[in-house]
């Protein structure tokens, strides 16, 4: 069965139609990439999946593991296993990264009927994951994302994803603002999570990221629609030819 099924999704923002009939089926174990020019609705799609306010679904549906995702509040979606790696993670002064991570992990564990993680276990777990992502241990003592560099913010997003072990993760322009070293670290973090029970939707403007996170399917989005789908080779074609012909078609 499909893990995520998007059917004829139409979304408007402040009365303006942004998504004009997106249909996409992603099975467990698959990595899909959506590429497209700026302003075409890629981030709208990720926000609608995660449940951000301000987006009006005028038609269509999104189901996750058979449940109506759009009927769930954002926190319930996350606890059910949906994760959005933000393009622009917000800085929240006064909230420590560690307290935030622990609260998020325990919210999920309670939903799953598991006992809450204690402080020692939590530290041990985070330290192990930090090491793989090249995150200094003292970063989690700092206020959430405050003063983090662009690369640190993206690594912190991947750390959160690693700790929360979602079943479906959307990566929204995770490559933006990353140098090649950071890109590699972030990609390794994502690749480590790939597996038969988990699916990814990687949203990007550039083909570069897909050299590191190699997708099973690539979709081209333009004008609020998916205008072409193919295998990973489609990404190379786009890199060589640009989006112009799709823009004209949209």
């Amino acid at each position: 069965m499909a893990l995520i099924e998007i059917k004829n999704l139409h979304v408007s923002v402040q009365g303006k139609d942004i998504l004009k009939g997106i249909s996409l089926t992603i099975n467990a174990g698959e990595v899909h990439a959506i590429m497209g020019p700026n302003g075409t609705g890629k981030s709208t799609l990720s926000n609608v999946i995660a449940g951000r306010e301000g987006y009006e679904v005028t038609q269509g549906s999104v189901s996750f593991d058979g449940q109506d995702l759009l009927a769930m509040p954002p926190d319930a979606r996350a606890r059910a296993g949906v994760f959005l790696a933000f393009q622009y993670p917000v800085e929240i002064p006064g909230v420590s990264t560690s307290a935030f991570l622990k609260t998020a992990i325990n919210a999920k564990r309670r939903t799953e009927g598991k006992p809450e993680i204690d402080a020692m276990e939590f530290l041990k777990l985070v330290k192990a994951k930090n090491k793989a992502l090249g995150i200094p241990d003292d970063m989690i003592k700092r206020p959430l994302n405050v003063g983090f560099s662009g690369g640190e913010k993206k690594r912190a997003e991947v750390l959160q994803m690693t700790l929360l072990e979602p079943r479906f993760a959307v990566l929204d322009e995770t490559d933006s603002g990353l140098d090649i070293d950071a890109l590699k670290i972030v990609s390794d973090g994502v690749n480590a999570l790939r597996g038969p029970t988990r699916a990814f939707l990687v949203i990007t403007h550039y083909q570069r990221l897909l050299n590191y996170i190699v997708p099973d399917y690539v979709h081209v989005m333009a004008g609020g629609r998916i205008v072409k789908s193919g295998g990973k080779e489609l990404a190379y074609e786009l890199e060589a030819e640009g989006y112009t012909k799709y823009l004209a078609a949209a």
Binding site: A50, G51, R52, E53, P73, P74, D75, R77, A78, R79, F83, L84, F86, P89, V90, I92, P93, G94, V95, A99, F100, T103, A104, A107, K108, T111, P143, L144, Q160, L164
Partner: protein, 440 residues
């Protein structure tokens, strides 16, 4: 500018009978200070709404209450320190009941070498020569309306003198307001003087017992010597029917440091005025704070920082959360004199609305007469940022928990400016209990 008159009020008559009994009444210089103060009160009264500095904090309700003077701890029997007073490990507790020292409730310890602590009464009676050059020197009755009221009726207070290079100590002054059958007012006068190189931490807790209304009107004159450091952390958790109108006048000598934090979690009407004269080059002043208001509480923090000479640094971060029908006020004036080059002055006030009912007024005033300075001020008031809320919820945290985390974070961000670790922890606990009370 006689706009509201205190002295047409029973308040005055109740006090008149006490004049002769006030400490120092037989000494001409003290009597002179009091006469001047009373003269000012007679002509000006208490500030009304048309006095610019008081336009957000009206005293109309104060002058309607027939306060009686409370001049002795024996007026009311307080046998224990109330719950809600923070525990500061290692701090020496000095307890005042209605502005008068309670030896019974205070820690019985000797002053360490280099530090002298006594009551105003004691110094006026035994060593007036020490007070004569200090008292009224920083806070004259003409400068601050509440100073006039304090000076006219001050009956006791604490005198804290740290000698040169005194290595440091932590005092916790606990002020308990307690009215008996009638509303009472008290006007404690405190002196804190640090000689060159001295270090001192002073925590003040202002707390009240439920009952009749009381008016606490403390005035503190603070002098920080060259290279000396005073950290003054003030916590106000007065009773909801109480008035707290405090004034602190601070003078900083060269390379002196004054760090203040004002935490306000209780009180009916609270106004704290802090004026700092940065008289010596290279001085540092930090006045940070936070207020958390519910119901009909009113809080006003008014600061005046005067960069009189160059190379001084001042910073202020004041945050507030407001709920119910409460009213928060922050007024911050920064004056940089013509010769105060290389001044670095920063000020930021942020208020978070937890509901639609409260009001917040912010009035920053920068008066800069020097040209080679860095000055910045900012103010932001608003509701919780929906992007912050969404971020937390997108990680599986439910809406109520996420909101509580964000309010807590908003406040903890201010608490983080407290450099003393033990006070930071204690004040953080107070904020967390405030949040729990609100959630309950």
């Amino acid at each position: 500018m006689r706009l509201t008159s205190l002295l047409d009020h029973p308040f005055r008559d109740a006090y008149a009978a006490k004049f002769g009994a006030l400490p120092g009444a037989t000494q001409a210089w003290i009597d002179g200070l009091r006469q001047t103060a009373r003269g000012i009160l007679n002509t000006s009264g208490l500030p009304g709404p048309r006095v610019e500095a008081w336009k957000f904090t009206g005293l109309g309700d104060v002058v309607k209450i027939p306060f009686l003077p409370s001049s002795s701890a024996e007026d009311i029997d307080v046998r224990e320190i109330p719950l809600g007073v923070p525990h500061i490990p290692g701090a020496r507790r000095i307890v005042l009941v209605n502005g008068v020292l309670s030896a019974e409730l205070s820690d019985a310890v000797n002053d360490p070498p280099g530090l002298r602590i006594g009551t105003l009464k004691h110094y006026l009676a035994r060593e007036p020569q020490i007070l004569k050059p200090i008292l009224g020197g920083l806070a004259s009755s003409g400068s601050y309306p509440m100073a006039a009221l304090n000076t006219a009726y001050m009956s006791d207070g604490l005198v804290i003198l740290a000698d040169k290079n005194f290595p440091g100590s932590t005092l916790h002054i606990i002020s308990i307001g307690a009215a008996g059958a009638d509303p009472v007012a008290f006007h404690p006068r405190h002196i804190i003087t640090l000689a060159a190189g001295a270090q001192l931490n002073v925590i003040e807790t202002h707390i009240g017992l439920p009952g009749q209304s009381y008016l606490s009107n403390p005035l503190t004159e603070i002098s920080v010597g060259e290279n000396a450091t005073l950290k003054r952390y003030v916590m106000v958790a007065e009773d909801n029917d109480a008035f707290h109108l405090s004034t602190a006048a601070v003078a900083l000598a060269a390379h002196g440091t004054f760090e203040a934090f004002h935490l306000v979690v209780g009180g009916g009407k609270v106004r704290q005025e802090v004026a700092v004269a940065m008289n010596g080059a290279g001085a540092t002043c930090r006045i940070n704070g936070l207020y958390a208001l519910t119901g009909k509480q009113h809080h006003d923090l008014t600061t005046v920082i005067d960069h009189a000479v160059g190379h001084g640094t001042s910073s202020q971060l004041v945050k507030g959360v407001v709920d119910g029908q409460s009213h928060g006020v922050f007024q911050g004036r920064i004056h940089v004199a013509k010769d105060a080059q290389k001044t670095d002055a920063r000020q930021l006030h942020k208020a978070l609305f937890l509901s639609k009912g409260p009001e917040v007024d912010c009035k920053p005033e920068l008066e800069i007469f020097a040209d080679d300075v860095q000055c910045a001020h900012g103010a932001a008031t608003g509701e919780m940022d929906p992007n912050h809320l969404f971020y937390l919820m997108a990680r599986g945290i439910d809406a109520d928990t996420a909101r509580a985390m964000l309010v807590s974070g908003f406040l903890e961000d201010a608490i983080a400016t407290i450099s003393d670790e033990l006070v930071r922890a204690a004040f953080s606990d107070l904020v967390q209990s405030w949040l729990k009370r609100r959630a309950a």
